[in-house]
């Protein structure tokens, strides 16, 4: 490695729309909501002029978590529930990368719940997109932490009796500094939510209704269509925490999507970490300690 500060190279040429097209065509079921999320993410990256090598897409395991294989960026398709922990390490070790985390409701709120809580509280500079289909898709249709009460799934054949998690209030309380909801059926709106999330310095969470057309017969496009209300079309103040809470809990005849809450006053973890102040990404730095530094360590033992 060379001496001097090494930073992430960015070329002059602007990416094209097709730059983000992956090698592999998604193997999702026809009609799966995740197609729209993938398209929205590709569009957002294009509009933000981010070059594919500047972006690291990290996922867990699930239908939705297959996304990194379908987009042309650096990618990590990790373990079930662990995407945020892996992404945190990557984002801190190379804070010049744009790290986008994608996954499902089971991945993020079930098995990965502990990492979700702590990544929010740390306000890591990550974009977290959850394709929330209220079901475990990849394992062929079991109940998920967001499945509604009464829903029949393969693991709740007599109807789910447990209360679901509501991810929006959870994220608000958890300390996420950008909290939004999108819907696969409103792709243009979703692109804006994702762009806002990527541009946000801090932990940005977008819960996306992304219907599983194969295993969730309750929360279908038909079910969502009449209920979805876009927050940006009404008078919602994204700096009003309690207003955001109230909107977050709204469910039933009307379900709001859009940006609930944005807090620009809190520094993100990389900004708070003096080790990253200068010298470029840790990943590219010379790993050696100086003679002066090692002499000091030894003298402390005397």
């Amino acid at each position: 490695m060379t001496t001097g500060t090494l930073t992430l190279p960015v070329s002059e040429t602007k990416p094209e729309k097709s730059s983000y097209k992956g090698k592999v065509h998604p193997d999702w079921c026809p009609g799966c909501g995740d197609f729209s999320v993938l398209a929205a993410l590709q569009k957002a990256l294009f509009e933000l002029e981010l070059q594919p090598h500047q972006v690291l897409t990290v996922s867990g395991i699930g239908c939705s978590s297959n996304l990194p294989g379908f987009i042309n960026t650096y990618g990590m398709h990790t373990l079930h529930g662990r995407s945020l922990a892996v992404a945190s390490g990557a984002a801190l070790a190379n804070h010049e990368l744009k790290v986008v985390v994608t996954g499902g409701d089971g991945d993020g709120f079930g098995i990965g719940g502990n990492h979700f809580m702590h990544t929010m509280r740390r306000n890591l500079d990550l974009t977290y997109l959850v394709m929330d289909n209220q079901i475990y898709g990849l394992t062929t249709g079991q109940t998920s932490p967001t499945s509604p009460v009464g829903m029949k799934t393969k693991s709740t054949p007599h109807g789910n009796v447990e209360n679901p998690i509501n991810p929006i209030p959870l994220a608000l309380v958890g300390g996420a500094t950008y909290v939004a909801r999108g819907y696969s059926g409103k792709q243009k709106h979703l692109v804006e939510m994702i762009k806002g999330a990527i541009n946000h310095k801090g932990f940005a969470f977008v819960d996306i209704f992304s219907p599983c057309v194969t295993y969730n017969k309750n929360n279908t496009y038909k079910w969502f269509a009449p209920r979805i209300k876009i927050l940006e079309e009404e008078d919602h103040d994204t700096t009003d925490f309690y207003g955001a809470m109230e909107k977050g809990y709204q469910w039933g005849e009307e379900i709001p999507i859009g940006l609930f809450w944005k807090n620009d006053k809190l520094a993100s973890l990389d900004q708070l970490e003096p080790v990253l102040e200068e010298g470029g990404p840790l990943a590219y730095r010379d790993p050696r300690v100086s003679k002066e530094q090692s002499d000091k360590l030894i003298s402390e033992l005397l």
């Binding site: 500047q54 990194p68 042309n72 990590m76 984002a91 801190l92 050696r288 300690v289």
Partner: protein
């Protein structure tokens, strides 16, 4: 050679401050150039219970707590009651005669009672200083040495505290001079002042020398010392140190970091390692190198948080589902730990696999002396075939825009050049699902037996030549000895001392110490053991984990076994006596009893 070799035991309840007198003595001895080995037996309590610190010192190397005590300093009645019986003729007990009753000491033990209240001027905390001063007198050490040590250790508390302690120490020293006999031996002087460190410090420093720039952990005894050292030095050295929500998060986080190109590391104990196992497999599948240290404590489950054991070998061998290459090494002591870390990091970078280190509480929390000149930070750092963004034709592993790039290229060595994120033109997805050479999944829709076989073999092939990079174990001691003692990890030193004792009794013994568990030098080991007269395996667990591993790798079954699983380390005589017992041919399994009740 050792002209004098003595041990001091200081005991009290947790919270009674035995750490400070321990530090003062360690400081004085190391300054004098004496080798020391200190072991603190304690429980998982913040107050109460019983804590017993043994410091052994000599002008020659000392590898264990030794076999006997020359001086006992009981800070409470409990310590007196438990340990007085350990003292033999010539030994001595120093105690506060006003608050502690002495029991039945063996003949020839000097019972030295101190009027503590008067000497410490009623200052309870300073009572320890009085006892240390008396000890220093009895060892024939000049008062200035104690004065210097007090000045250094209490420096943070200000001049007044230092002056007060020196005054009280002087009272104790004078009282001892007027009332007690010095020992028949005198603390000798070594060649030059030595430094003092714990194994956890040595582990952290080894990581720092290796170029670790990312350290994450979750507190767990006895590995927490590594986290504390890293956290303390993080800013001055530019190391990212994170305390994570759990060990699952830790392992996943360091893999995320390592994937971008930093050297990343963690240390934990068995319970934490258990939580990390799935992710260790991810390191294997991504072919992303990380290093994880397991400072073993007694198991299973919460087990013995503050006691030592070698019980996690099989867990380390099997950590993570499936078959994938890994490296496992068990350094024998502090300096070996320090030197092994850079070596292991280089190998994990070269072979792109997880590197696991078996440490033990007795190493991690044990305090020993070290010649500062031995701590050499100027080590080779070899990053293997890693592609950083600063490539040119001179530097093939810093590359741009290679349109033919395949992250998991099926090479003849099995090693595929690894691009780190941010390098233009090398995009790939690392996947825990089985994947093709370019990273695309072959696990679900297109499961392809031929490709699966190719990828399994590609990863496995990386280990074909790794043995050549690792020193084979060799015999220490006389070649044609009557008995060969085989051990791994922390037992190397105590076995050497047992060999000395056996030699004094006319029995020749040698040692085959095993440091690298994976890869394993099966051929070299078999050859040595087949040439040995009698092979006895010494280890700190119940089921003979290493004995079973040796059999699985070589088919070799030893003649005898010495095992201990009471939470305490071996003392040299435990091993020497077991060998004698087994040489009679009557026993093939010895389980020594630990005589010190802690």
């Amino acid at each position: 050679m050792r002209t004098a070799d003595f041990a001091i035991g200081i005991g009290g309840a947790a919270g009674q401050g035995i750490a400070t007198p321990g530090n003062i003595l360690a400081h004085i001895f190391a300054r004098r150039g004496l080798h020391i080995n200190a072991y603190n037996a304690y429980q998982s309590l913040i107050r109460g219970g019983h804590t017993f610190l043994t410091i052994r010192a000599s002008d020659g190397p000392v590898y264990s707590m030794g076999d006997r005590l020359d001086l006992l300093i009981p800070l409470n009645q409990d310590t007196m009651d438990r340990h007085l019986k350990l003292l033999g003729p010539g030994a001595s007990v120093l105690y506060d005669g006003e608050s502690i009753e002495v029991g039945d000491a063996e003949k020839g033990v000097q019972v030295a009672s101190l009027p503590m209240k008067e000497l410490s001027q009623g200052n309870k905390l300073a009572a320890n200083t009085v006892a240390i001063a008396a000890a220093v007198y009895k060892l024939g050490i000049e008062f200035e040495a104690l004065e210097n040590a007090l000045a250094q250790i209490f420096a943070r508390k200000g001049d007044e505290v230092v002056a007060k302690n020196v005054e009280i120490a002087s009272n104790g020293y004078q009282y001892a001079a007027e009332n007690f006999k010095p020992f028949s031996f005198k603390a000798p002087r070594g060649e030059k002042p030595l430094a003092v460190w714990t194994g956890n410090e040595a582990t952290a420093m080894g990581g720092i020398a290796a170029g670790v720039k990312f350290y994450a952990a979750y507190p767990m005894s006895p590995a927490t010392g590594v986290l504390m050292y890293m956290a303390k030095h993080a800013r001055e050295l530019g190391i990212m140190v994170r305390q994570v929500e759990d060990e699952i998060g830790v392992m996943n986080m360091i893999i995320g970091a390592a994937h971008t190109g930093v050297r990343a590391m963690t240390a934990t104990s068995g319970g934490g390692l258990a939580l990390m196992t799935e992710a260790i497999g991810m390191s294997g599948m991504f072919e992303t190198p990380i290093v994880c240290v397991n400072v073993q404590r007694g198991g299973p489950a919460t087990g013995l948080p503050t006691k030592t054991e070698q019980g996690d070998l099989w867990m380390m061998l099997g950590a993570g589902q499936g078959d994938f290459p890994r490296l496992i090494v068990a350094p024998s002591d502090h300096i070996d730990m320090f030197r092994t870390m850079p070596e292991l990091f280089n190998l994990t970078d070269k072979y792109q696999c997880p590197g696991l280190v078996l440490s033990e509480l007795i190493i991690g929390e044990g305090t020993v002396s070290v010649d500062p000149a031995e701590i050499d930070f100027d080590v080779d750092i070899e990053r293997g075939e890693t592609i950083f963004p600063n490539g040119d034709s001179e530097n093939p592993y810093g590359g741009y825009g290679d349109s033919t790039y395949l992250r998991y290229r099926n090479t003849s060595s099995g090693i595929s050049p690894r691009a780190v994120p941010g390098v233009p033109g090398h995009l790939f997805v690392a996947s825990t699902d089985e994947h093709d050479e370019d990273g695309t999944l072959i696990s679900d829709v297109d499961t392809d037996p031929k490709k699966r076989r190719m990828m399994v073999e590609k990863r496995a092939r990386k280990m074909m030549n790794v043995l050549a990079d690792i020193a084979a174990p060799t015999l220490e001691g006389p070649e044609d000895a009557e008995v060969t003692l085989v051990g791994w990890g922390s037992t190397r030193g105590v076995i050497l001392e047992a060999m000395e004792q056996l030699a004094e009794g006319g029995i020749t013994a040698n040692q085959l110490h095993i440091k690298w568990l994976v890869p394993f030098h099966a051929e070299a080991v078999t050859e040595i053991l087949e040439g040995s007269k009698k092979v006895i395996i010494v280890e700190l667990n119940y089921s003979g984990q290493f004995a079973r591993y040796l059999r699985s790798e070589t088919g070799f079954t030893a003649d005898g076994f010495v095992r201990k699983y009471d939470g305490e380390p071996f003392m040299p005589h435990h091993i020497a006596e077991a060998v004698k017992e087994q040489l009679t041919g009557k026993e093939s399994l010895s389980v020594p009893v630990h005589e010190i009740s802690v």
